[in-house]
Structure formats: C-alpha cells, structure tokens
C-alpha cells in the first residue's frame, strides 16, 4: 500500500522534537489542521531552522514546494509568508510560517537554503511588499517594474465599478460580500 495522503502525526513527531530541542526559542507555535502541520517561527531564526530542516536526516526537507504570502489586515503583524516543505525521503510535508509588519517587512531570504526560492520570493515581494534580506535580485517579477503598490494586499482595490438598478445598488466587485443580499464590507 502506498503511504497516506496526509501524514500521520507520528511521522513528523521526531522533527518537531528535534526542532524544539535545538531551536526552542525560535518556535512560536505548532498547530495541526486537516492533517497538515504548521510551525510558526520567529523571523530571525528562519534561515538556521530551514538549514537544519533541509540537512538533518530525520527531516530531509530538500524540496521547497511553494512559498506564498497572505495578508491578514486585522493583525498587527499582518503580512504572512508560508513555506511549504516536502521531504521526498520521508514523504512528509510541513509548513513554516513567519509574520512581519508592514512598517518593518523584512524576512531573511532562504535562497541560500533552497535556490528555488528565488522567483517565489520575488513574487511575494511583488504582491505583498515583503523584503527578503539578502536576496540576489529582489525586483518585481510579474507586475511591471514601475507598478505602484502591492496588489495582493487586502487593502489594494480590485477595481471595477458599482452598478445601480432601479431599486438596488450593487457595489464594485472588491466591496461585494454576499450576506443575504449584496452588501459592502
């Protein structure tokens, strides 16, 4: 039988124990949801933890699957960067998470650990304005280089116009939220 789609917790347990032993102060929170394990890290320790996760035989996360950003405007540290790691050897996935503020959006680059992070980090910079310190060439990648603003932040408007009917008003697309009637958020 091939292994399960989502890893049982016991596969990831030695990694978590090892992490806590070595980088106790770096690990802010460990959570599990729908069979996926998320480790929230202190930004300053990201690179050393990443290097250990890649090199230690109990972890062997040699493949950085994905690196993506999310904006949570209600939080003070609203910009969130997720690292989706995969260990081919153990067939286990793990998500690392760091959070930074808009006023100080600095995250150390992991291009030295996983070279594939290069374009991913440029994309997150492009869309969220997260600065990856030490990145070899941190410039916009998908938007034009003279673009203003960071389009995937939640306060960046989608654009579009509102529509007036005789007895109804539909707000522009980015303000629509259907809650038993089209209302503005």
């Amino acid at each position: 039988m091939p292994p399960e789609t989502t890893q049982p917790p016991d596969l990831i347990q030695p990694v978590l124990t090892g992490l806590r032993e070595r980088f106790g102060e770096a690990v802010r929170e460990v959570s599990g949801h729908r069979g996926e394990v998320t480790i929230e890290l202190a930004t300053a320790h990201l690179v050393e933890v990443a290097t250990w996760l890649r090199d230690d035989p109990s972890a062997a996360f040699t493949h950085l699957s994905d690196l993506s950003g999310t904006d949570y405007p209600e939080r003070p540290d609203r910009l969130c960067v997720d690292y989706h790691l995969y260990s081919r050897e153990h067939n286990v996935r793990l998500r690392l998470k760091v959070r930074v503020t808009v006023s100080d959006p600095h995250v150390p680059t992991v291009t030295g650990v996983w070279p594939t992070a290069n374009w991913h980090e440029r994309e997150v910079y492009d869309f969220f304005g997260v600065r990856f310190d030490g990145h070899p060439n941190l410039v916009r990648i998908l938007m034009p280089e003279d673009w203003k603003g960071y389009p995937q932040r939640k306060d960046y408007p989608l654009g579009g116009v509102d529509v007036d009917y005789i007895d109804a008003h539909v707000p522009p697309p980015d303000q629509r939220r259907y809650r038993g009637g089209w209302t503005s958020t």
């Binding site: 789609t5 996983w114 070899p136 060439n137 941190l138 998908l142």
Partner: protein, 472 residues
Amino acid sequence: MSEVAPERDRATQSQLVQEAVVPPGEAHDLPAPSAAERVTVNERRAQQVLAMGGGDWAEVSARAHAEGDDDVMVINMGPQHPSTHGVLRLVVELRGEEVISCQPVIGYLHTGIEKSIEYRTWVQGVTFVTRMDYLAPIFNETAYCLAVEKLLGIEAPPRAQALRVLMMELNRVSSHLVWLATTGLELGALSVMLYGFREREEILDILEEVTGLRMNHAWVRPAGVSQDLPDGTEERVRSFVDDMRGKIDEYETLLTNNPIWLERTRGIGVLSSEQLVGLGVTGPMLRAGGIAHDLRKAEPYCGYEQYDFEVPTFTESDVYARYQVRIAEMRESLKIIEQVLDAMPSGPVMHPDPKIGWPARLALGPDGLGNSPAHVQHIIGESMEALIHHFKMVTEGIKVPAGEVYVTVESPRGELGYHVVSDGGNLPYRVHVRDPSFVNLQTVPVMMNGLLVADVIAALSSTDPVLGGVDR
C-alpha cells in the same frame, strides 16, 4: 534588434524603476562597472536583473559594452516569438554561436487570477483556475477542488473521483501531445507537429463531448463534477485508446532513432540531480534526471492507488531523456484510462449534502451546456423550496470552514500545488498556485550556459513552459 526609446522616455522609466523597487542600498542596486572592480562575465551575470518593461535594454547592452567584450552580442527573443511557447521573453548573450547567458523575463500574461478569485464564490473559483495552465485545465480544476474539499472535510463520491482521473489522464496525453508537436516543429520535424495536433484534436473532441468546452471546462467542481459522462463516450474513449497506442508507435518510428532528432536532443540542456532538487524541479524533467518521484504514487489522490502504472524514469537528464519520459508517460496514461473505464464505480457524481453539492445537474443542449431540462422543470414547475435553494446556492454559494491547506497533484509539468486559505466565509480568502512551469523555468539560465544558439530552443522547449500558468 535594439529597442530604441526616446531619451525622455528612458529617463522617466529608469526614474520609475528607482521609485518602484526596493530602496537604494539593497541587493538589486548594482554598482556601475568600473575598471577597478572589474568582475568576470559570469559573476555579473549571476547578479543581473532583467525586468519586463524593456527599459533595461539599454542597460544590458551598455553593460556588455562596458565589459569591453566586443564579441558579445545581446539578442532579445520574444515576448512575441514563435518558439517561446507563449509570451516568454529571453535575453540571450552570445559570443559567436555560444550562449554565455540566458535570462527569462516573465509577467507578460499576468492577469491577476489569484486576486480575482478572492472576490468570487468558491464554486466560481473553478472558472478562474482552469484558465491558468491552459493546456492542463482539468488538473487545475481538480487540484483547486481537492483543496476546497479538504477544507470542507469531505470527499467527492467514488464515481466523481474516477471520472476526474479519467479526464486528467486524457488531458495529460493531450498536453504531452502539444509538447511533442511544438517541440517537433521547432526542431524541424514538421510531420510530428501535424500528427501531434491531429491526435490532440481527438482528445479535445472527447473533452468537449463531456464538458461542453474544448478548454476552460470548469467541469470539476468542489464536491464532485458538474455532470456525468454522456452516452457513448465510454466506447469513444476506448476506441481512442486503442488507436492512440499505434499512434505513439508512429511518433517513435519517426523520432526515437532518427539521427537528426538524436543530434538535436542528446546531451542538450543537462541538469545534475543537485540542480534539479535545489531548483525545485518536478515532473517529467525530474524523472528524466533519474529521480523517480511522482505525486500519483507518493501521495495518491482521487484513488490513484488502485491503478497499476509505472513511473517512467531515465537518467541522462537531457532533452532526449525528457522526450522519452513524456512518450512513456502517454503510454502509462492510456493504461490508467483503460483501468478507470474497467472499474468505473456507479453512483452520483456530486456530494449528496445539499448544503455543499451543486443543486443542478447540467446537460448538453443544442445550444451548449446548461441546466438539465428535468432540473428546470423541478424548480420552476414543482418546488418553490427547490428554487429558493438553487438561487441561494448559486448566488451566495457554499461556506467553507476557516483554515488553510496545501494540496498537490501531478500535472503534466510537475507538482501543481494549491495553497488555499479560508476565513469561514463564502469567498476564498487567498488562493496561491504553485505552478510547475513557473518553478521549472528557473532552470533556463542554468541549462543554457555554454549551449549553441540553435540548441536554446530545444532546451527551453524541454521544460514545457505554459505561460498562462507561469504568469497567472
């Protein structure tokens, strides 16, 4: 070749660049080349930044000039070039025939799909993701729907899962056929182009029969698929599979031992396994480099574990090995398609929970895809409650519990990953797509070093980039 912009525009553009990118002092702020700190061409190339606007063109040629190397020629290829597989731009530096650097520039097809999804309901999201990697729409839909289903904590009914596998494998064959056809065309094998597109047309006809559309199907939906197979499709797929085996033999007769094909593809674009792993390469490129990793085997989804198939692996890691992997994968896909048809479970194709499953059954009418006449009869003529329910499901959509998941499927190009975040509402909070073409394109600068200019196209083509997925 050079794009001469008026002096005034150039000044404005570089000014804008200064303002838009990170403040001065950060990594991209390259020092002006001077005799004192003269770096080698290679070191400079490693730092070189190419943005998409075209305003950097003068900079690139000036830099080449400042290096005092009069033999170096900078060629701009694309974004509108027949061999760049969409709107990809390559800036190639040549010394004579030899490529000394090749930088891909992307972003020309960026349409903000990830942003737009955040303002549509979960079901409408399917119509966006299917437009990303337009050669593998079924894979995009399936991966997105698997992510939504994981957040919902449900699984689609067995028949829907089997239908997804059937359609994905048909789609994989059609995607590999486009790769074979275009690569053949670019390397001068014109017959292969004609044959590849001929067979792909067969598959598109089947996809159209099932979904109503040749591409951008939006056929896979959260909690199932939008409609069952129409009568007669099964026989049609079976006879296609029988034909296709012979057709693949035909391609192999044309190419596999063809001295010109071997000359153009063997030893070209070689990547070491360290490079493959470090650059996050997945899919046929990885398997052509001796790493037998396939998500259908490693982390099976949609019931792939019940089908018997091989993971073709080669070790040369060149263009020829990638060709062999794709050809072998087409054969394996045909095997899977037959097994799916043999073991097709019966039952519904949409989750029975009325708060999750799409209320209507779609049907193909003379004017295309629409609600089935029986369903329209039910909501208009028989049941007021059914009408209200239908209206609520279509306008307000389903609510997905808060959380985040990362779900992957093995697309024809590699690991297609969906990072989906929900805040518990009826609209996705964030959908990020890890597109395999995006990641695999990063190998281009590494692969091209030292190649002859004629081999650039072969090496680029072997990554099978689809710019709709790269730029999203």
